[in-house]
Symmetry: C3
Subunit: 339 residues, 3 copies
């Protein structure tokens, strides 16, 4: 069990203690669940009222939050501090480097951890500090950078590339075949997918998500982008730096997302589009045209988000609206007759 004083915790996150800095803390818990041995956090003003009643031994708070007489650690970003403190109490475990006797490494994986049933194909390279869990696959000629994590059953197909510190959750497929066919009278003829899928530094991809290889050139997920589970990136698409793509978000072929784009859950973008920096698509939205930087869109097809909110609020009244208009038609007809 890991024990840290409030003072040690504050020092580790660059915060300032108000209260008992010698108090010993054993774990991190939410405001509702925390007890006297726990550090908690207030990251959202919506939960400020919980501060009055929490039993937490210490709370990470912002510069101006009320302490309610509790021991607090003031920090510029309490949510970030929470993330750091969590790691303090649950240190990351990296297995020792080495190749398990039941792994197969035909390329090179010096300084990496290759667990049982992981596979590194001929000509492939895996960087120092990277960990391949059981069933991870790095195909022929593929390149995996340093300090990557390839969880169980994740796939980097032949010739594809991961930068450094990339995290693939279980079942991720980087470099499956792009969906490209020429439709002829003899059926759909496959277009060879001869390109790559290239994943930038510090990208994380959620379980069972897919990034297809391109027919030519690269499909890219650029530096710092975070993809949730079951996300789909079509061939030749570009996911920009620091994008956030929530579960089931889909990007069709050849579309380019700018920097800091956010696709909420199940949002989709059709193919061959340009999506500007900072665009935000709401849950279930379908973007069918280019979007300028900073636009917020929702709906199918996606329109301005605020307008969509008003449309969505009006929609339940549609049946009564129809009835009213029919009545008005009749009344206007009568009025015309009566003149």
């Amino acid at each position: 069990m890991i024990r840290r004083t409030v003072g040690e915790i504050a020092a580790s996150v660059g915060g300032t203690v108000e209260g008992d800095d010698a108090r010993v803390i054993l774990a991190v818990r939410g405001l509702e669940d925390a007890g006297p041995d726990d550090v908690s956090f207030l990251a959202n003003r919506r939960y400020a009222r919980k501060m009055a009643v929490t039993a937490a031994g210490c709370v990470l708070v912002g510069e101006r939050d009320k302490a309610h007489g509790r021991t607090v650690i003031r920090c510029p970003d309490p949510y970030l501090a929470f993330a750091q403190v969590l790691r303090l109490f649950v240190p990351a475990v990296r297995p020792a480097a080495g190749v398990h006797p039941m792994a197969v490494v035909e390329g090179t994986a010096t300084g990496a951890t290759v667990m049982a049933f992981a596979y590194v194909g001929p000509g492939a390279t895996v960087g120092e500090g990277s960990v391949l869990y059981p069933g991870a696959y790095v195909g022929a000629g593929a390149r995996v950078g340093r300090d990557c994590t390839l969880m169980a059953g994740s796939v980097v197909a032949d010739g594809c590339v991961l930068g450094d510190r990339v995290w693939l959750n279980p079942g991720v497929v980087v470099g499956g075949e792009g969906f490209g066919f020429v439709s002829t009278a003899q059926g759909h003829i496959k277009i060879p997918q001869t390109g790559r899928a290239v994943i930038g530094d510090d990208v994380e991809i959620g379980a069972n998500s897919c990034v297809d290889r391109a027919a030519m050139g690269d499909t890219e997920v650029q530096r710092g982008a975070k993809l949730d589970n079951l996300v789909q990136i079509g061939h030749g698409a570009t996911v920009g730096p620091d994008n956030l793509l929530v579960s089931y978000a889909g990007v069709a072929g050849s579309t380019r997302l700018g920097r800091g784009v956010v696709l909420a859950a199940r949002a989709g973008v059709l193919g061959h589009l340009e999506v500007g920096d900072g665009v935000v698509l709401g849950a279930d939205a379908l973007l069918t045209e280019d979007a300028a930087p900073g636009e917020r869109r929702s709906g199918v097809p996606a329109i301005d988000h605020r307008r969509w909110l008003r449309v969505a609020a009006s929609l339940p009244e549609l049946p009564e609206l129809l009835a009213t208009v029919r009545r008005l038609e009749a009344e206007v007809a009568r009025l015309k007759e009566s003149l």
Copy 2:
């Protein structure tokens, strides 16, 4: 080949024969496909007319269905009887217990079947009667109960838990990383996902579905819940007992579903919501607020199901409605002038 008389079948399901109880049956088939050697079933009154024309040697029917002169087995729930009889003719095959020489068991799996390329990490336990198919992964410190089935390539990540009689279809990921980041000027900083994913007894999870581990505490799928393929359960969410989640259903982080909730295909629930017992969401619905017990909702955002049906029926008339209102505006303007 398995042979059973009508009388034996009736006995096995607690039913009553009307007709020839010595007739020999060789297989189970639907009413349209069944022949004289087959037992069939009438589980839905919609198909009652098929009883008049089926060639089935015997039919499982309810207490009040018409026999049309055929040999029938009357039972309280013919659909349940069908499920039981199907198992009678196609017995479940469980491979013999033991660890394949090309499996790796670093924890304990006494009395379990561990097939080739399956992996049980250090400190992990797999209960008696459980079967790990090739490529199944049970991470360090994970616990798998008794009589579980982990099909090919299914994953129980480190420290996660399965109850008894859990069935994971191929590609299921229990315990992938929750999607949690603190967005800063330096990019999205990962919140360590130090919690678990915990799956209750008698849960079945469909192919390539994902249940994320929580940042703190547990993500739960409780006893008896059934999840279809490609379902997504976010970190810290709770799926209640006996829930039915159809394919692509998604539950965002920290949301709690009550008992007996049904999410139809592609229905989604946003994060931090409370969904009462017995709530039913229609296909493609997006629930954006709490739902009280027993509510039926559809649409994006989800509204009362019956209202949604009326809205959906009105929607195709919208273009004409717009034109009518424009005409009425002009007519009313003329009327006002003419007064």
Copy 3:
């Protein structure tokens, strides 16, 4: 590096050269990226203006496209020619036949390539020329035809069937359990899924897609159908010949799709429906009733596509429409009073 003259390329696609047939070509690139050593293609009139400015050494064009003074190869279908030429410069690599010492073959796989950690169960057969990548699983009694490709971690569950030249991308699950339960007071009782999933010749299935086995009989994906990533086919459904199912398309149980059906991304079809030949569903559509051959549908629920386009165009005006109707109501009431 592969070198081909324009004349050789033209011969290989049955095209006619206009210009320098001795020019040496080293690669295939899009019109925007191509240089003097590249062959490019004009497959869509929308991009005809790029012909005037491309630096490509040679362009595959149709019979009537303008050459703009460049060396071109005229062919009946330039897009098909492009697919063929791409293969010319990046030949398909098939690993040599043989069973890796760390593979397990309990059935037969004569003339096939079985890579490390691939598994062929007892009684299963894998045809000549087929390749099983690491982690591929062919269950007991399953049959895989000739020249199939089972990429890393793809699954053909016990008793299921692939025809010839089938391509499974990584993580595909053929033959997971159908989602069938009888709901009782004691919970949801599983209906044994005793049927098969059967995949026809020349089918390709995208990464992490799922085709469930049926309770009885077969789930079918018929000859030449192409399924993108994360597609879901429910138990007992039939996907017709040459269907195109884009990512996240879903087909619920027992539904039958005819020949040449197209489901755009995230389109869904409810269960027990008949979908005629050549039906096209738009992105995000939900088909809730049978569709006659050739119908185009969009929306939730899906209606005629052209009507849906008009509805979608009207929808953003709904808030103003509501306001207008309320004003008209008031004006008509005043008019009635004033008479």
